[in-house]
């Protein structure tokens, strides 16, 4: 299992990095933690002519609460940075928990939030909870930057809206009334296993009234998907166990899972039903326990 040859670049600014990427077009790849890219190159899935490392580009590694913007997460932040962030613990513990459910400790030290998003495999653990929290991503290109809603950024299996000469700079969880959120992952082992099913939920409760709710399903469609009918069942209603159960059933119908080596379609649907209920209960309980 040999790593094929490539041209290696270590630019010091985003501008310089975008320029190099622009010269190669789709034949170059950004290198962050390499935990998705290098296994793919070793297994001949990808053979980029050039790797453009972000190592020497300063910044992009903080998690900060910025008034008026929300929680701003640098693209180079590792899953373990998310696990250990006090800003996330205070505001969105669910994101720390989702990061902790990823991979193993070594990979959580090496990987990055941007790599997890741009890699765009259906079972990735960070996108569902970030989409449930209405996160946006900022992309820097040769002629400035643009911000996209994460829900629209991931367009298919290993496909995103990023251009070959763009670099993700940050992920922002905007200020919001949501305080209750949760991510439940089912993998075949506790560690080092991809999600068979992942369900994220974020709610805005007013007493027992569900003012708003977002449910996002991972690993059961080509992209993380909103369970919009399940959301409708709950939105504007007083929450009951029956309504939560109904939402779970709806999510199981809405999702589009495949059968593969890790689980059958039927099994995934049933796990979506169960995990949608659990994620909702946890998100609602957290919210109510705070007020």
């Amino acid at each position: 299992m040999h790593l094929p040859d490539f041209n290696y670049y270590q630019p010091e600014t985003l501008q310089e990095a975008c320029e190099i990427l622009g010269r190669y077009g789709a034949k170059a790849k950004v290198l962050a933690g390499g935990t998705d890219l290098l296994p793919k190159m070793k297994q001949d899935v990808l053979a980029p002519e050039a790797l453009v490392s972000l190592k020497m580009v300063s910044g992009m590694s903080d998690i900060e609460k910025v008034p008026g913007r929300g929680v701003v997460i640098g693209a180079k932040t590792s899953p373990n940075d998310l696990v250990n962030s006090s800003v996330l613990h205070e505001n969105f513990m669910s994101v720390s928990e989702a990061a902790h459910s990823m991979a193993n400790n070594q990979v959580r030290n090496m990987g990055t939030i941007a790599g997890n998003i741009v890699n765009a495999i259906p079972s990735a653990d960070l996108p569902p909870i970030l989409i449930a929290l209405s996160a946006t991503v900022t992309l820097v290109g040769p002629v400035g930057s643009r911000t996209l809603v994460l829900e629209d950024f991931i367009t298919g299996v290993s496909r995103t809206a990023i251009a070959p000469d763009e670099i993700m700079e940050e992920v922002v969880i905007p200020e919001q009334s949501t305080t209750g959120s949760a991510y439940f992952k089912f993998g075949l082992r506790h560690s080092g296993a991809l999600a068979v099913v992942g369900v994220a939920a974020a709610v805005t409760m007013q007493g027992s009234l569900v003012r708003d709710v977002r449910i996002v399903l991972g690993a059961v469609a080509p992209t993380p998907m909103r369970a919009k009918k399940a959301e409708e069942i709950l939105r504007g209603k007083n929450v009951t166990d029956d309504l939560i159960a109904e939402a779970g059933k709806s999510a199981a119908v809405e999702c589009k899972p495949i059968s593969d080596i890790r689980a059958s379609e039927e099994y995934r649907r049933d796990m979506v039903r169960v995990f949608t209920k659990r994620a909702l209960r946890k998100a609602i309980y957290l919210e109510q326990s705070e007020s």
Binding site: P4, P39, L51, Q106
Partner: protein
């Protein structure tokens, strides 16, 4: 970091790094992996190659104090950074308390996972000197022992934390 073309036209990069306390300057190719720099160029064969895909943890080393899988790190990316391998855990002749504890608790069977296990445990104890059993198990979850000697490995790490 400086790059030069060798006589066959292949780019070689001159990198400087600290390995087990020694300042080293070495020349590597762009696609040289940290595990191969350590094992083949620096003869530090205590770091093992296993799955080569980041699943097994046998190539675990500490990069600026954090456990990483050296099969997924380019050597060029380690430029300017500090690496600890299993060879750097003992203080000259004196074994680290983790190493002593692995011996005392019979936590070594075939030994292939041991280097990685000890480095993952070392990173944990440096950050968290008194971990719970769950914290120990989480820290070594990326280190597979196919002799399945986990019970004694966990015992050894907890005992080293007590000591």
């Amino acid at each position: 970091m400086q790059g030069v073309k060798d006589k066959n036209g292949v780019m070689r990069y001159v990198i400087s790094l600290i390995v087990n306390g020694d300042y080293l300057t070495v020349t590597v190719k762009g696609n040289t992996l940290l595990v191969d720099l350590l094992r083949q160029q620096l003869n530090l064969t205590g770091t093992k190659r296993g799955c080569k895909l980041g699943n097994c943890g046998s190539c675990t080393v500490l990069l600026d104090g954090k456990a990483v899988s050296s099969c997924l790190v380019l050597a060029v990316e380690a430029d300017g950074r500090e690496i600890t391998t299993i060879e750097g855990v003992a203080q000259s002749e004196k074994l680290d308390k983790l190493q002593e504890s692995f011996i005392d608790n019979a936590a070594i069977q075939c030994g292939y996972c041991t280097s990685g296990m000890i480095l993952s445990a070392k990173a944990l104890l440096t950050k968290n000197p008194h971990p719970t059993e769950t914290e120990v198990r989480t820290a070594i979850a990326g280190n597979l022992c196919r002799c399945t000697g986990y019970v004694n490995i966990v015992k050894a790490i907890l005992a080293a934390a007590e000591a």
